[in-house]
Structures are given as C-alpha cells and as structure tokens.
Symmetry: C2
Subunit: 153 residues, 2 copies
Amino acid sequence: MQNSEEEKFRARRLEITDKGKGFIELLQQLSVCDSVSDKEFEDRFGEIESLGDDHVICVIEDEISGKIIATGSVFIEKKFLRNCGKVGHVEDVVVDSSARGKQLGKKVINFLTDHARCVGCYKVILDCSVENKVFYEKCGFKQKEVQMAMYFV
Amino acid sequence: MQNSEEEKFRARRLEITDKGKGFIELLQQLSVCDSVSDKEFEDRFGEIESLGDDHVICVIEDEISGKIIATGSVFIEKKFLRNCGKVGHVEDVVVDSSARGKQLGKKVINFLTDHARCVGCYKVILDCSVENKVFYEKCGFKQKEVQMAMYFV
C-alpha cells in the first residue's frame, strides 16, 4: 500500500531520538538556540516527560528524509478560576522553511488543541506576531488581549 | 514595634487555609468562578503544590480583616529553545476592588517576577487587556505580540 500524504506527515509526540533528526536545528529557525548537548537534551526531555499529558511536544517527521520538519508544544495550566479549570498554552510552533505550504503548521496546531480539549481544558491560548494572526484565525483562534514581556537576559 | 504598611501587606505563597479567607471570592472579581468545594480546592491545591517552585500562587492578606485582598500566579515553562531556557507565565492577577491604590498589584507582580528570576527564567510574559497595559508598563513590562484564544466551552 502506498504511503499517503497523510501518513507521510503524521503528527506525534517528541521522542528522545528526535534530537538526532534535526529537532534543535528546527527550533533555531524560530528563535535563539545554541547547540544543546545530548546530556542537556536528555535532562530537559526527562523534565518535560515527567509532566505526562501536562506538557506535550508535537513533531512531524519527514519519513523520506528522516528529519523533523514541524513542531509545537502545549502545556496545561491548572487554575482555581473557572471552577478549577485548565488552560492549554501553545508555544514554539515552527515549520521548516523548506516544508511550508503543506499545512503542517495546521496539523501541529490541531494535534495540540485536540490534546488540550481531551485533557479537559476550557480554552487554548497562544501569543503570535501580527503577521501570523491570519494563520491562527484559520486554525480557529480569535484575537483577545495583548502580550506583555519582561526580559531578564 | 508598630506594624508598618509594608508588613501589613506582605506578599506570600497561597496556603491551604486561604480558601476560608476569601481567596475564591477574590478570583470571582476577575472571571467566572462558581463556588469551589473544600474537596475541589484541596485537590487542586495539591496538584499545584506538587509542582513546587514551578507553579507559585502569591497572595496578600489584609492582617486586620484576615481577608485575601490580592493574588497572582506564575508557572514556569521549560523549553528546549534559548538553550533549554525557562519562561515564567503570569496569570490571574487581581486586587480586591476595595483595596485598590495601595500598590498591591505591583507588590504581587514583583513577587512573581522575582520568583521567576530566581528560578532562572530568561523572561516573564503575561496577557492583559489594553486598559491594563499602562499598569504592566509601570511594572517593567513591554508590549510584544498579540494573544489568540480558542474556547472549547
């Protein structure tokens, strides 16, 4: 049976072997990230994995090249508000520059929002640049507030 | 020695007995929150407490009335980006309507940002309404991106 496009670009959870498949290099397309040692990667991977369904990193691997070409993460905040509600926070969404136009970003977002819905979140939120607003609107998001930031370094 | 204003309005971590001091009623001034049972409160308190320094809720108690009059939370996201960096996410900041003008909001924000800095975050972020932008600017924040949200309920 032939691999359909759907199967070729399957969203799944990050695995510890994904470091060797260009996961960090992909993140470098999004923001500052020097090379991460195997030890540092394994330690952080373990910290995130210990949170189980409360912090999930999604990746899409190109089955042909064996490279990670899209990623995004969601972590679950537990509140007292909204009758002890939960909120999904989406972070660090990026699609490899050579793999744009294949709807991989949408696939990552769907994976993350489905996960948040499944674990009982009443909403999912994220921050994005004004340029990326239209993409997230197509994914079903609506603009809400403004993001403020304080940098220590 | 007389209680100074500073001591009267001391920021500290949420304690399990704060439910009886109007903590939930204070949150109701911010957003939808029906009454929370003691069992629900204790369960959620335990879940948050189990995260240790990675999810901290700050409160200010009015020592005279014994009521919680200000609160805010910060949770720590662990990333691979920024050389396995950490980001503090500030949420659910509210000051009792009868206690405005005493700089309690600033005190809560300072407590939360100090905590984030101490645990090694490279930045702290939050989302706020356009009306509250000036307050956060006074606290040292700068406007960055736009917040997008998807509601499930």
